[in-house]
Amino acid sequence: MTSIGEVLAAAPRASLKGPRRPPGYRHLRGSDFTWTVAFILPYAAVFLAFAVYPIGYALWMARDPALYAALVADPRYLTSLVNTLLFVAFGVNVKMFLALVLSGFFLRRGWWIKAILFVYMLPWVLASVQAFIAFHWMLIGDPGLVDGVLSALTGIEGPVWFNHRWLAIACNIIAYIWKWMPFWTLIFLAGRTAIPRVFYDAAEIDGATGPRRFIHVTVPMLANLYLLCTLLSVIWTLGDFNTVYFVSAGGPSSASDVLTTLGFHYTFETANPALGVAAMMSALPVLVPVVILLLRKLDSGEVQL
């Protein structure tokens, strides 16, 4: 005896399963099967040898509970936990929102828009280490370029950026946004060009222009893509090492370190790799739900990149 709830729960799933299967689906036979296996094999080998094995190894390295007790006892760990949270929260959300808005700007017609897009993409193409070192010199120094311009324009004497924890974190976040915003703008630009024109025309007839058209047409059409990109970006931002290591270098005295740079210090300066891996692994409670959500979003087939 099946309850109505079960039937209702099963019904939409069944209807989703049907059309998902490609038309003309058949079992692979003979040489096709051989080819398919041969095509998949290289990636499967890479995946097993260089993704599955290291992930398993990392979990094994960080298996000892005593490591986590040692982490919590270290005040630097708690500081870097808060920093990581700030870095991810602002680094991801501000970047994504600006990228979404700016992708609309780059949809405008005209040669100068194309020229600006080209220059705007430069931070993405520049190597991150060198660009972040340039950021470092822009802010540090006696005075750096930013403080120099500030005092020339307004007469205000700028702060010593990396002497204050919050300022140093803010600098890291801004550098991170500078580097990665163009990439996501490009993705959203592609997403926007895929929105059929008819929707905009219909909205225009109904009198929606400018911001209202953005809210009522663009946002709903890109919502899924936006969510997917945000999830991916959370993973990548959590794992970012170069920004903090080269822009603020963790200063003042490792008060702006994030989990990755702290793990690096544990590994190479205090020669305790297991503790380093454990420091990074402590982000797993956040990472696992994000990855599950990402996979479910992709598997539902409603989002395409």
Binding site: A58, G239, D240
Partner: protein, 296 residues
């Protein structure tokens, strides 16, 4: 002109004024974006054009006073400290970058073809499994990677870095290729198969050419991943023979009087290959965007 404006009906005039305002707004935003994008690049040139080596001289300059190309000269001739092996390191970086790019394109296009075009029942599952690579960010895995590479006999070997970069570029590459692959109707493959083409021929003659825009994005993405990487090159490569430009950067901060002008000149030279590739392939990227438009 004012007469013409006055004779327009008020609604048209308001519309026109709004359009002018939007144009001005767009121009201001464009200017802000240019400054935002170029200030760190300007800083790089400011340091690179500094006539004297050493840490302190360039700070505080807003213009390159007494700009000179000495920095670039020292890089090209490998005369500056830390840069004695610049061109060998540059070659190593190039080798790792190009191998990563080629292998990523090859491996992921083969896998995507099998998953998306061969009507593999469990194809989705495989594509999703690839994304599990991101369950742990790349930087979290560098220490296990170091130990594993030692076990594989690949310590201090550029191939270890290439393996890492290909691994972390692939899931996103497969994601992109799967998406673009769905825009191409399967009937194209079917008609070729009816004409007697084998799976390999379909892959070579139909899939690869039609996927060119997506493959371009994947190629740039993979090259940039390898080019941006510091951690893996620093940790996995130890001998002078294999060091890369990126992996040697952190030595400088330990030196109070490092030759920063030459270092920034080196940074600018290092930035050139991806910029050149981006320029060369820009129209393909643009075409990729247009392909998205066709779908709508």
């Amino acid at each position: 002109m004012s007469f013409a404006l006055a004779s327009l009906p008020p609604v048209r005039r308001r519309y026109r004024r709004r359009r002018v305002l939007t144009e001005i707004g767009a121009a201001i935003l464009g200017l802000v974006l240019l400054i935002w994008s170029l200030v760190p690049v300007y800083q790089m040139f400011l340091i690179a054009l500094d006539p004297e080596e050493g840490e302190i001289e360039f700070t505080g300059n807003m213009w390159p006073h007494g700009a000179s190309l000495d920095g670039f000269h020292d890089v090209v001739t490998q005369e500056a400290r830390y840069l004695e092996d610049f061109w060998r390191q540059f070659g190593n970086s190039l080798e790792i970058g190009l191998l990563t790019m080629l292998l990523t394109v090859l491996i992921t296009s083969l896998a995507s073809f099998a998953i998306g075009r061969m009507r593999l029942g469990s194809g989705r599952l495989l594509a999703n499994a690839a994304l599990l690579t991101y369950a742990l960010p790349a930087s979290f895995l560098v220490i296990p990677f170091y130990k594993i590479m030692y076990g594989y006999g690949l310590s201090d070997n550029p191939w270890a870095v290439v393996a890492a970069q290909v691994t972390f570029a692939s899931p996103f590459a497969i994601l992109i290729l799967q998406h673009y692959g769905r825009l191409l109707p399967l009937e194209i493959d079917d008609s070729a198969r009816i004409d007697g083409a084998s799976a390999l021929q379909v892959y070579l003659r139909i899939y690869l050419p039609l996927m060119a825009p997506a493959l371009t994005i994947v190629a740039i993405y993979a090259l940039l991943l390898a080019w941006n990487d510091y951690l893996y090159q620093f940790v996995l490569l130890t001998s002078d023979r294999h060091l890369t430009v990126s992996g040697t950067q952190s030595d400088l901060f330990a030196d109070i009087d490092a030759p920063w002008n030459a270092m920034m000149a080196a940074a600018i030279l290092y930035a050139l290959p991806p910029v050149a590739l981006f320029c060369a392939l820009y129209r393909y990227v643009a075409r990729g965007l247009v392909l998205g438009e066709v779908k709508g």
